[in-house]
């Protein structure tokens, strides 16, 4: 079964392209820092705002730091923020979704109204509000993005649990004496996991966008740490004279977000038996 999912995924060229982009960026984040000639925090004011050259392939920023080096180190921060926050958010969202869907009734109503409240805020506004309460920094950015991805997962998981709950194999589990906890862990969760994987992948793109936006506004990662959104924000001032400084992080954000979206769409098609038309 796992084999056929992979096969179906591989058939979608666009999805594979997304996966390749992500793999390249992850590789860059893991290995890149060992290959860089510069330190991302080394200031060299004499050479600020340089265009691309042999020494600085993507030029330098307002303090003369090498843009390529900062991009590579920034990939690490970006991935750490997005992966941890989405993982935490998905886990919590999934727990709430499973509880709401499985027990139904009042439990369901309370949890779903709570997610409605969270969903009523525009995503970025919610993140800004959370950061405003907690303060800036990497950890708080992670918390903000995690909270923001909880309601999406909770809703989606609840939906799939509602159908699973009425399957005869759940009745069968009850008849053989399985407890609620056992039924949830061994039957409900494994059967709703494909939904979770797809939506987590799609959420990763959104998370990167949100964390960059927060940093762009000066609310996320604080200088001097290299972060794509923050780099974009600084380079904005010299867009006309040194466009490369803004283009480089901008393109990096676009590529990664696009990569996650394409991969997520491909995963959804590959895991969903209903769209098995090829």
């Amino acid at each position: 079964m796992r084999q056929s999912v992979l096969k179906r995924f591989m058939k979608r060229k666009i999805a594979v392209l997304g996966a390749v982009i992500i793999v390249l960026f992850v590789f860059m984040a893991l290995v890149g820092p060992y290959l860089c000639a510069y330190d991302p925090l080394d200031i060299d004011v004499l050479n600020k705002y340089q265009s691309s050259s042999r020494e600085h392939l993507l030029g330098t920023d307002n303090l003369g730091r090498d843009t390529l080096t900062r991009l590579v180190y920034g990939a690490r921060i970006t991935f750490i923020i997005s992966v941890t926050s989405v993982f935490i958010g998905s886990l919590i969202g999934m727990i709430f979704g499973v509880i709401a869907g499985y027990f139904g009734g009042k439990t369901d109503a309370v949890i779903m109204r709570a997610t409605d409240v969270l969903l009523a805020f525009p995503g970025l506004l919610l993140a800004i509000a959370i950061v405003a309460i907690l303060g800036t920094g990497i950890i708080n950015t992670i918390i903000a993005i995690a909270i923001f991805s909880i309601p999406y997962l909770a809703r989606i998981v609840r939906g799939s649990v509602l159908t699973i709950r009425n399957s005869e194999y759940i009745h069968a589990a009850k008849v053989i004496g399985a407890s609620h906890l056992r039924t949830i862990i061994f039957h409900i969760v494994p059967n709703s996991l494909s939904q979770v994987i797809v939506n987590t992948t799609l959420n990763l793109g959104t998370a990167i966008l949100t964390s960059s936006a927060l940093s762009f506004l000066g609310l996320g990662v604080q200088p001097p740490d290299p972060e794509w959104g923050a780099m974009l924000s600084k380079a904005r001032e010299v867009m006309r004279s040194t466009p490369i400084a803004a283009l480089a992080p901008g393109i990096a954000i676009t590529l990664v977000v696009m990569g996650f979206s394409l991969m997520g769409d491909g995963l959804r098609d590959a895991l969903d038996p209903r769209s098995r038309n090829d």
Binding site: E168, Y169, A172, A173, K174, V175, F186, P190
Partner: protein
């Protein structure tokens, strides 16, 4: 053989219907509306009726998947709805169920061996797990190499065998079979029914066999109960029921059994019309809207369920 394993008294199960407006009176689907019967140790009791007559609901109440609205269900003289948790856990080992749809009754993410093993693990029988499962698989006619395969790799008949092995794992005394073969091909049905008879002898089982197929029920049952709109209208030994049906509904059902010989002419007098809604039940006898032998009293008074002959109960004004 004659001891009662399960006694059901005046069982009712109503499902609330969603109201259209707030001020409307709440209505109920009376899926099961006051039925009483007993199942004897070692027998097979067939429960037949049209779809929607409440026969599956009866099965679900017996295995505690649904709580009854009223009435009692006693297993070996203990009310199963008065039991505490330890007693309920013990009851799970005694009453098991075989489900209708073998395509949705097996968890698609579990392998055959794991599915059959699960009841053993839950009920803390830890010794020789694999051997026990393999023996069960042999008993229901599954090959040992199926142990590590997923349900989607099997045909409907094989899946149903897995479901039967799971029900057998705890060595129960009573198995509720909820239309166990109606989702299968006719050629497979016979195999499964025969296998179920073999394991009944081997494991000393009592069956409650729920079905809408009188042919199969005739093959496997000792006694047969006929349900109509939440009531048992007739219950008798198989021979009596087929040779001397008393209730007009039973008669109609028997006439509806197809004859496998094209030259023989099907008897006339098939049931006309549709089953009334279980929300707005007809006054008097529930069957009077479709009954050929309707009398005045039928539209006014509900008939009494009475023993007309030895072990032959019927609910009809014809036998007052």
């Amino acid at each position: 053989m004659n001891e009662n394993i399960l006694t059901i008294k005046n069982l009712k199960k109503y499902f609330p219907v969603k109201k259209d407006t707030f001020f409307e009176r709440r209505k109920y689907v009376k899926a099961v509306d006051g039925i009483s019967f007993t199942i004897r140790e070692g027998e097979t009791l067939g429960l037949v009726g049209e779809s929607g007559c409440g026969k599956s609901t009866v099965g679900k109440v017996i295995v505690k998947l649904l709580e009854p609205t009223a009435g009692t269900v006693s297993f070996r003289d203990r009310d199963i709805y008065q039991m505490d948790n330890t007693e309920t856990a013990a009851l799970r080992k005694e009453i098991q169920m075989i489900f209708q749809d073998p395509y949705s009754s097996l968890d698609p993410r579990q392998k055959t061996g794991k599915i059959i093993m699960e009841p053993l693990i839950i009920n803390k029988q830890k010794e020789n797990l694999n051997e026990t499962v393999l023996k069960l698989m042999r008993d229901v006619g599954l090959l040992e190499e199926f142990f590590d395969r997923y349900p989607h790799e099997f045909s409907g008949g094989q899946r149903q065998r897995i479901g039967i092995a799971r029900a057998l794992a705890l060595n129960p005394s009573l198995i509720v079979c909820d239309e166990p073969v109606s989702a299968l091909d006719v050629s497979i049905q016979a195999q499964i029914v025969n296998m179920m008879q073999d394991i009944q002898a081997q494991y000393n089982l009592t069956y409650l066999f729920i079905s809408h197929d009188l042919g199969i029920v005739r093959h496997i049952s000792n006694r047969i109960a006929v349900m109509y709109l939440g009531r048992i209208v007739e219950i008798a030994e198989k021979k009596t029921l087929f040779s001397k049906p008393l209730h007009p509904y039973t008669l109609g059902l028997l006439k509806a059994i197809p004859i496998p010989n094209p030259n023989e002419i099907q008897e006339q007098g098939l049931l006309q019309g549709d089953i009334p809604s279980p929300i707005d039940l007809p006054e008097g006898c529930r069957f009077h809207t479709r009954c050929e032998r309707r009398m005045d009293i039928c539209t006014k008074e509900h008939p009494i369920y009475r023993e007309v002959e030895d072990n032959h109960f019927v609910e009809c004004h014809l036998y007052d």
